[in-house]
Amino acid sequence: MLELFITFFKIGCFTVGGGYAMIPGIFAVNLSIFIGYKLFRTPGAVVCTLGTALPSFIIILLIALFFQRFRDYAIVNSMFRGIRPAVVALIAAPVFRMAQTAHIRWSNAWIPAVSAIAIWLLGVSPVYVILLAGIGGYTYGQLLK
């Protein structure tokens, strides 16, 4: 069990960025819960979740405690002026690869288009978009039968 905790603590320490999975939640966390459960049932799952979540929690908490104090320095401010456009680019860049894995074609391209417009221009919460998309998919599946 300790070994399991240490393993996922290490994974938690080194997964920079974040994965993709079609299950809600955080990919690394989901995976650790799954493996922990397979090995030691519920206690294993608890230990693995803690192992994965703890490094982020500690690091980000330390940053949150001190970030505001030096965020207002002129040099830090300039650095973040440069960083912000890059972050937006890093979020935009995987769109096409994701469109491929999601099998977007001309026939279903309206779904991402409508979703994006609803969230971006109409201020609809992404929660409702996901709910509607799920219900829509289900209804479509029933109609095909």
């Binding site: 938690g12 320490c13 080194f14 997964t15 920079v16 960025g17 974040g18 079609m22 299950i23 939640g25 955080i26 690394a28 966390v29 989901n30 819960i33 459960y37 994965t52 979540a53 929690f57 980000i60 908490l61 940053i63 405690l65 650095m79 002026r81 440069g82 960083i83 456009p85 890059a86 972050v87 937006v88 680019a89 890093l90 935009a92 860049a93 769109v95 096409f96 994701m98 999601a102 977007i104 279903n108 779904i111 979703s115 994006a116 609803a118 969230i119 971006w120 919460s125 992404p126 929660v127 996901i130 998309a133 799920g134 219900i135 829509g136 998919g137 289900y138 479509y140 599946g141 095909l144």
Partner: protein
């Protein structure tokens, strides 16, 4: 009660955060920036940047950060901020935990069930839309400046955006390296 709100909001994010990683950006932004105003778009972008440069999944990083900063900016002391941090992080992991236990126990052989398949037929394309929306929502004056406000900064922002976009998409440069480069460029030029 802010703690309870944090708990509910981050549990929702954990519950509906299909796609993980960047698709979750849209979910977190919708709740934290648009609905609850716990952060501005600029502050939110900063956290995504920090999240890129530090280990750990984005969902947990933002939960921890927002939990702390929303409590402190609402006037609570630092220890309440840490409690907020803990609450939000616990809440974002909780749905995964319950769902994954259920999946591990029973559902794995339902993965290819036609009903599950058809539900994802809708969700998968929608997640792409979420990602597009997340990018568009971050293209604000706060992040890029504007030609009228500061023409120089606006031009540099566009250039750095294009650099990072193609650096990632075409040349697969490590995101941390891209961010570090843009930070240096920002320090020198902006």
């Amino acid at each position: 009660m802010l703690l309870l709100q944090l708990f509910i909001v981050f549990m929702m994010i954990g519950l509906f955060g299909f796609g993980g990683g960047y698709a979750m950006v849209s979910m977190i932004q919708g709740e934290v920036v648009t609905s609850h105003h716990w952060l501005t778009t600029g502050q939110f972008t900063d956290i995504v940047a920090i999240s890129q440069m530090t280990p750990g999944p984005l969902g947990i990083n933002t939960a921890t950060y927002v939990g702390y900063s929303s409590m402190v900016s609402a006037g609570y002391p630092a220890w309440m901020g840490i409690l907020g941090s803990f609450t939000a992080t616990f809440a974002v992991v909780l749905p995964s935990f319950v769902l994954m236990l259920i999946i591990s126990k029973f559902l794995l052989h339902y993965k290819d069930h036609p009903v599950v398949e058809s539900i994802f037929l809708g969700i998968r394309p929608a997640v792409v839309g979420l990602l597009v929306a997340a990018s568009l929502l971050l293209m604000t004056r706060e992040n890029f400046s504007s030609p009228g406000e500061n023409g120089w900064q606006f031009c540099i922002s566009i250039l750095l955006f294009l650099f990072a976009f193609f650096g990632q998409r075409v040349y697969h440069i490590n995101p941390i390296r891209l961010i570090a480069f843009c930070a240096i460029a920002g320090a020198i030029l902006l």
